[in-house]
């Protein structure tokens, strides 16, 4: 057993349907010489305590086995620990794995063994880290960007602050997790009049995304807002946003899509600029389906 590796299994993997795939993964890791101690997440067990104990026992690479939600369960504290993160996706959703260039199942073991380590930026909301994005849906909250200006949806809309990819807003513009910036996307809801015999009804339509970059910001609202931070819900009136460059070491595959060289990522921000150029026009085409959603 390689003591440098520790495997963290999600709770749902104890279901019988996953036993065969787990056995295959363990066999493959054994062949590649990267097998290690296995721990399981559980409802009444502190994930943080579990991982800290693994690190104290000498683990230098913590491999998350499960899905994106498993990764998100530990991401809020993991960047503070001196470990490299590995990820073996075995169930959906695995959009993050896709961004990291990691295939699902035992093929991920080869990625793990190849040990192509990338250092990524990590976002922060108050004291909580996030890898992918913060999402606020149907909100009138505003975001103060780099102490310069406030931006909000006029009527209401969805605000997302992205560090890596665009997971929740499928089809949204990709964020660059290696540029030292967060990407702010505001997708307003627009009231539109319908031209039909039921024209007294007014419908609401999703508008185009406004994309900006920021290093720090403040989300503010006069009404309580619900944030989804890497899928984790939090409620409040005011939140501080920030980005910590080069904070998280993570093992990636060859086909990763993390930075501006990846297709669809936002262009590099100018080092001296407050607001960078974005590709709003690109997004008009790329997320056409999300704009067709109608609200009554």
């Amino acid at each position: 057993m390689n003591r440098l590796y520790a495997f963290l299994y999600d709770d749902f993997l104890s279901a019988p349907s996953y036993q065969k795939i787990l056995a295959n993964i363990e066999t493959r890791c054994s062949i590649l010489g990267i097998q290690g101690r296995v721990s399981r997440l559980a409802i009444f067990r502190s994930a943080r305590e579990l991982v800290e104990n693994l690190v104290m026992d000498g683990a230098q690479t913590v491999v998350v086995v499960g899905n994106d939600k498993t990764l998100q369960k530990i991401m809020w504290f993991l960047p503070d620990l001196p470990v490299t993160v590995g990820y073996i996706p075995v169930a959906e959703p695995f959009g993050i794995a896709s961004l990291l260039g990691i295939p699902p199942g035992e093929a991920a073991c080869d990625i793990l063994a190849a040990r192509r380590v990338e250092t990524l930026d990590i976002g922060k909301v108050d004291k909580r880290y996030f890898l992918t994005e913060v999402l606020i849906q149907d909100t009138k909250a505003s975001v103060r960007v780099d102490k310069q200006f406030n931006i909000s949806a006029k009527h209401a809309g969805t605000i997302s602050i992205r560090n890596l990819g665009s997971i929740a807003m499928n089809g949204g513009a990709m964020a660059n997790a290696k540029d030292g910036w967060l990407e702010l996307a505001v997708e307003p809801i627009l009231p539109t009049e319908r031209k039909s015999r039921f024209s007294f009804l007014k419908s609401l339509k999703r508008g185009e995304e406004t994309l900006l970059k920021l290093k720090e910001g403040i989300i503010e609202s006069t009404e309580p807002v619900d944030l989804l931070i890497d899928g984790h819900p939090i409620n409040g009136f005011k939140f501080n946003l920030g980005v910590i460059p080069n904070k998280l070491k993570i093992i990636t595959g060859r086909n990763k899509r993390l930075d501006s060289s990846s297709d669809g990522a936002l262009p590099e921000a100018p080092s001296h600029g407050i607001v960078s150029a974005t590709q709003g026009h690109l997004h008009r085409v790329a997320s056409w389906w999300s704009k067709q959603r109608m609200y009554f």
Binding site: Y18, Q148, F149, N150, I189, E209, R257, D263, L282
Partner: protein, 164 residues
């Protein structure tokens, strides 16, 4: 023979494609877009082109081209390299090169530019100063505030008030 049998070895769909690369066939256009339905308040600065189709209050400062859409409402002093205006601007505009006012443009404030093009139907309430920018680089005060101060001597100064 029975090729339709499902493979239950993997709990995830093996034929699920990986997330498709976004916009791989599309050339990105480097312009900051403030879309319709979005409101910005404060000091808005950009190092590139800016397209505004929403509402902006405060100041706008860009070294690129500012494009104001027909449904945009700007209540701000504007400094830009070039400007193409189709919407409503309430504030002074200092444009380094060319300002283009389309027919739907409604401007309430002073306009300073090296060259201007005004389409029939555009409305402009304020002073227009056209010529090489010797320049008035900073944003000028509003016309009503400047009445008591002596006029600068521009290369070519025109006072225009047009209504459709």
């Amino acid at each position: 023979m029975f090729t339709n049998a499902k493979n239950t070895d993997t709990p995830y769909p093996t034929d699920t494609p990986m997330m498709p690369p976004m916009g791989s066939s599309l050339a990105p256009q480097a312009a900051t877009l403030i879309a319709r339905g979005v409101k910005v308040e404060g000091e808005f600065k950009s190092q590139g082109d800016v397209v505004i189709e929403g509402d902006v209050q405060g100041t706008i400062n860009t070294v690129g081209t500012l494009t104001v859409g027909s449904e945009a409402h700007i209540k701000a002093d504007v400094t830009a390299d070039e400007a193409i205006i189709s919407g409503t601007v309430d504030g002074n505009l200092t444009i380094k090169k060319q300002a283009v006012l389309h027919a739907s443009a409604r401007i309430k404030g002073d306009l300073t530019a090296e060259r201007i093009t005004v389409e029939s139907g555009a409305a402009l309430e304020g002073k227009v100063q056209v010529g090489s920018p010797s320049i008035q680089a900073s944003v000028k005060p509003r016309s009503e505030d400047v009445k008591s101060t002596p006029e600068p001597s521009p290369v070519k100064a025109v006072s225009v008030e047009t209504e459709k």
